[in-house]
Amino acid sequence: MTYTFNFDWIAQYWPVIVKGILITLELTFVGGVVGILLGILCAFVKLYGAAPLRFVVGAYVELIRNTPFLVQLFFIFFGLPALGVRLGELEAANIAMVVNLGAYACEIIRAGIQATPKGQFEAGVSLAMTRLETFRHVVLVPSLQRIWPALSSQLVIVMLGSAVVSQIAAEDLTYAANFIQSRTFRAFEAYFVSTLIYLVLAIVLRQAMAGLGVLIFPRRSSR
């Protein structure tokens, strides 16, 4: 092999990488929190909402799940200005992440809710709670607990998918890699380093979600 790896550039470019990591984390965090909230809302509407609302949510979910994230991103960033909504690349990226995860989370959460025994709902209602109150206090937490692993996986997928936001000049981790390689022509090294960082982020994210799960969901203490 004639190619010799050279990582000297790190000394000069590490701020770009750190910024990239932070932005990737921001996108994942905002996408994760707001996206899951949106998913919960959509799941509720899809299960209990009025027919027209159900249709709108259904169309949204199908549209998002069956088209590439990149195209969605382009429409938000380049398309919305035509309608008078001009978003910065970070806002656009964040919104695209939320919209994307929201659709997937909706389906995952809906499945979790549907797996809730009917008796839980009836018990809530027969204690004079409204449907919304029953959903909020009785159905939601156990449903989330049921689908938490699936949701965590989806979040990792979305985090990795966020790489394409570099196309609209959002300065995430992939942007950092591309920026560095465009200056230094050290493509292998830049991609290798960013891949490793993604791997670490994915593992950390999974662990964090597991830890969060332990915090949110009660577990029986051993008898």
Partner: protein, 242 residues
């Protein structure tokens, strides 16, 4: 080493084909026709070099992200992809003599009040990441100008047209092509950055190949064939300083 012996000019002649990385997303240097075949300044340049060496030409369409890895892993012999030069890049690959002018400048609405680099202060500038103008503008732009670096030319132009950036830095031919389409937002020339020419890229330490390419470029300048290419794609003759 061994590897080098099998590469370079000898390998090209032995193989009978010259493999060249060309852009597909950077008109007028490289784009496609309605039949998706590559066309543009860089493609004609590649044809010229292959002709002169006397071998067949194999065009390999590349992006800005993968053009150098193609070269480094010996999947192409030359990169003719409107490459600009800087010191860091020269540490990794070798550059021939310049084969094309690249007049780049900053373009934007007339009323943007920009007429020199200092005026970019506080403005948002769209530019294609890794392009010649990216390298140049990064050097001269004031520190409080925001550079938005898009993946490809299309991103940069779309960003300008959709009002995501105040002005763009790009080739004057690119700007002219857009102006010709009479868009709602017009990229009028504001100021010229400089003529920062394009070079042919090749693996390091291929003296024979370098010599050959430089000779072909020099001859093409002399016999007017490069002028012809320039006129075809850029609408003007090759400038004196190339």
């Amino acid at each position: 080493g061994q590897h080098a012996a099998a590469a370079g000019l000898d390998a090209v002649e032995q193989r009978g084909t010259l493999r060249v990385a060309v852009p597909q997303d950077f008109p007028p240097f490289g784009s496609v026709g309605t039949d998706m075949t590559p066309q543009g300044y860089d493609i004609d340049m590649a044809k010229l070099i292959a002709d002169k060496i006397g071998v067949k030409l194999e065009l390999v369409p590349v992006t800005s992200a993968n053009r150098i890895p193609y070269l480094q892993t010996d999947k192409v012999d030359l990169v003719i992809s409107s490459l600009g030069k800087n010191a860091e890049r020269e540490a990794v690959i070798d550059f021939s003599d310049a084969y094309a002018p690249f007049y780049n400048g900053v373009f934007g609405p007339k009323d943007s009040g920009v007429s020199k680099p200092e005026d970019l202060s506080g403005k948002t500038v769209g530019v294609t990441r890794g392009s010649v103008e990216d390298l140049e503008l990064s050097k001269i732009a004031p520190s409080d100008a925001t550079l938005k670096r898009y993946e490809d030319n299309n991103g940069t132009i779309s960003a300008f047209l959709s009002d995501q950036v105040d002005v763009v830095a790009t080739g004057n031919v690119v700007a002219a092509a857009i102006l010709a389409k009479n868009p709602p937002r017009k990229p009028e020339p504001l100021f010229l950055i400089k003529n920062s020419p394009c070079y042919v890229g090749m693996s390091k330490n291929e003296p024979k190949l370098m010599e050959k390419v430089n000779a072909i470029v020099a001859e093409a300048k002399k016999d007017g064939s490069l002028d012809a290419i320039s006129e075809k794609w850029l609408g003007v003759k090759l400038p004196e300083d190339i």
